[in-house]
Symmetry: C2
Subunit: 352 residues, 2 copies
């Protein structure tokens, strides 16, 4: 590292007060500042915070051609005392570097990531709106900037953090999912476990296909379409009887921070959790017998998303409406920790 | 389409004469102009040609986050009369739209693609240097520009064409390949058959791994690692005895223009060509018996790349040095058509 101190250039006037946060579409308005750090000549350059502004890139920049790009999703929360919190940020730092290694990009030093994150949040703290459900979505991302269309890893990269205020990701409406028996999001020995940009592009067309059938998301299956892997862009949990099932992470399945937090919370509630391959057969058979009580997605953006129905080939299974579903209980427990409402015995949260 | 006529803004002075083309690294110098056409409000806008220049993009532009991006590779050649030629451009137009559909991007109208391509080449014709081996590499590409980090297909895109002078892609040196028994470049029901940017990012780390073992490229295998699919970023052919084998295109294997042209040329030379699944087992067994005579890669950038050795797990097979290999013969036949040296009975070439 040439110089680890962040070179800061502030906006002359915040645009915060001019924005009607109640009527903002997720991910369209960004806070006053952005953080970035360039990698070139084999090393990370001095990190910078500047007013949020467009980037200039050569048309031959590698990211447009060879897709070396990965991101993270995180959130900052404000408690009733006005203190701001982030949740397990070291997991996101580790995972962006897992993605970086698999996509042949340089790893982001812990200091660049953490210092950038905390300084940026400190500067744009007023954008973290108090109240459960409100949060500031944080998007760290890393991509290849080097000019030149030679199909090889780039020598130059940019790591950035931008932030956008968020209320609820899935604004109401039911979420029904269809189990894929043709499309896959990830290959064996591929990049499914990373948050590679290309994984998302590959998922849109199959998702559009299930939308045409009246579903909102696809449940991805393995290469033989026998095992359930993820739902849309989330990890997925199945409750059969009183037992909670979710697939183990591997080279196709993302090691989700929400996923692992929910597993811990569920176990500590005395729920039996099995982390193992979950077959299409056992889930559809349980559904036919009325034993499939819940299915829910888990991810940073949406936190916990209860699924109301599951389709597979020509069958459709509506899930029962329970009085006290695991999904609601676990989501509440997680949110209460994230918003500093209950004690965080896990040391998951960090004060900004 | 709002207006199909290209809005043209020319450079005041070409930079062509100031560049020493003999000492240019592939893909680092671009011609004087670039073509682009934006998609927004549900339609393609007026196409433009401007001086080659940087792009301005919001940090939240979807291409950085969700990887909606695909490209094509083509070449223009100059014959001894000074006429410039392109090779099967309609195949590239069809394929970028195949990629576009699978990545949930809008298709590029034929007129935008072809008119843009031909007008740009006409304007930058002096950059197509005569002489076999010299060519102008053409890079059409399409990517999501819309600002906003919501994980959904973008509503705004840019289609561009940029050009870079090229001599030889693999400048000398042998190419040895290692057969993958762990990594995959494509999933069943995935995007391997497209030229999605993310496919290339995913391939770099496994390629680096085989480089550490002294190989230059990886031969990709299917999800069970039993069948041979592609070599690096090329299609791959195997000659066992006097028979030529190559994998059929499917949802994991790119429908290469060079690949299909070589199949045609080989058949017309009376060579027995089998387009079918090629197993690791049969190729390694043939190698052990000395019956594996040739392996070569085929792609636009490198045309035909003879492979001198193949590794699989702990074995390594050096390939024989033949007097008249198929690879050299087929490459010459193809180049002679591309450079308008021999008659093009296939109607593959088009004059600019």
């Amino acid at each position: 590292m040439i110089n680890t101190a962040i070179n800061i250039s502030k906006v002359s006037e915040s645009k915060f007060t001019s924005i009607d946060l109640d009527n903002v579409t997720f991910g369209t308005i960004y806070t006053d500042h952005m953080f970035f750090c360039d990698f070139k000549d084999g090393e990370w350059q001095q990190p910078q915070i500047t007013p949020y502004q467009p980037l200039q890139l050569d048309p031959s920049a590698r990211v447009f051609h060879y897709g070396q790009a990965a991101f993270e999703g995180m959130k900052a929360y404000k408690d009733e005392h006005g203190d701001a919190w982030i949740f397990r940020p070291e997991e996101n730092w580790k995972r962006i570097n897992f993605s970086a290694r698999r996509l042949a990009m340089p790893e982001v030093p812990e200091e660049v990531f953490m210092n950038g994150l905390k300084t940026l949040l400190e500067m744009d703290k007023q954008w973290i709106v108090p109240g459960k459900g409100n949060s500031l979505y944080i998007r760290p991302f890393l991509f290849a900037t080097e000019a030149g269309v030679s199909a090889a890893p780039a020598a130059e990269y940019k790591f950035m953090i931008i932030c956008t205020p968020v209320q609820a990701y899935y604004k109401g409406g039911e979420v029904k999912v269809k189990i894929s028996d043709y499309f896959s999001r990830a290959a064996n020995g591929g990049v499914g476990a990373t948050k590679a940009a290309g994984n998302y592009a590959a998922s849109f067309y199959p998702t559009n296909k299930v939308k045409e059938e009246g579903y909102q998301q696809i449940i991805w299956t393995n290469s033989t379409h026998e095992y359930l892997e993820e739902a849309g862009t989330m990890n997925v949990f199945f409750r059969i009887g009183d037992k909670l099932l979710t697939a183990p992470t591997d080279d196709r399945i993302l090691d989700g921070v929400t996923r692992k937090s929910l597993i811990q919370l569920a176990k500590d509630e005395g729920i039996e959790v099995e982390v193992r391959k979950v077959s299409v057969k056992e889930v559809t058979e349980a559904a036919r017998k009325g034993e499939l009580k819940e299915v829910f997605g888990a991810g940073t953006a949406a936190v916990v998303v209860p699924i109301t129905g599951v389709g597979y080939q020509d069958e459709h299974f509506d899930l029962p409406k329970l009085d006290n579903p695991y999904s609601t209980m676990l989501k509440e427990k997680l949110l209460n920790i994230q918003y500093n409402i209950t004690e965080d015995k896990y040391n998951w949260t960090q004060k900004i």
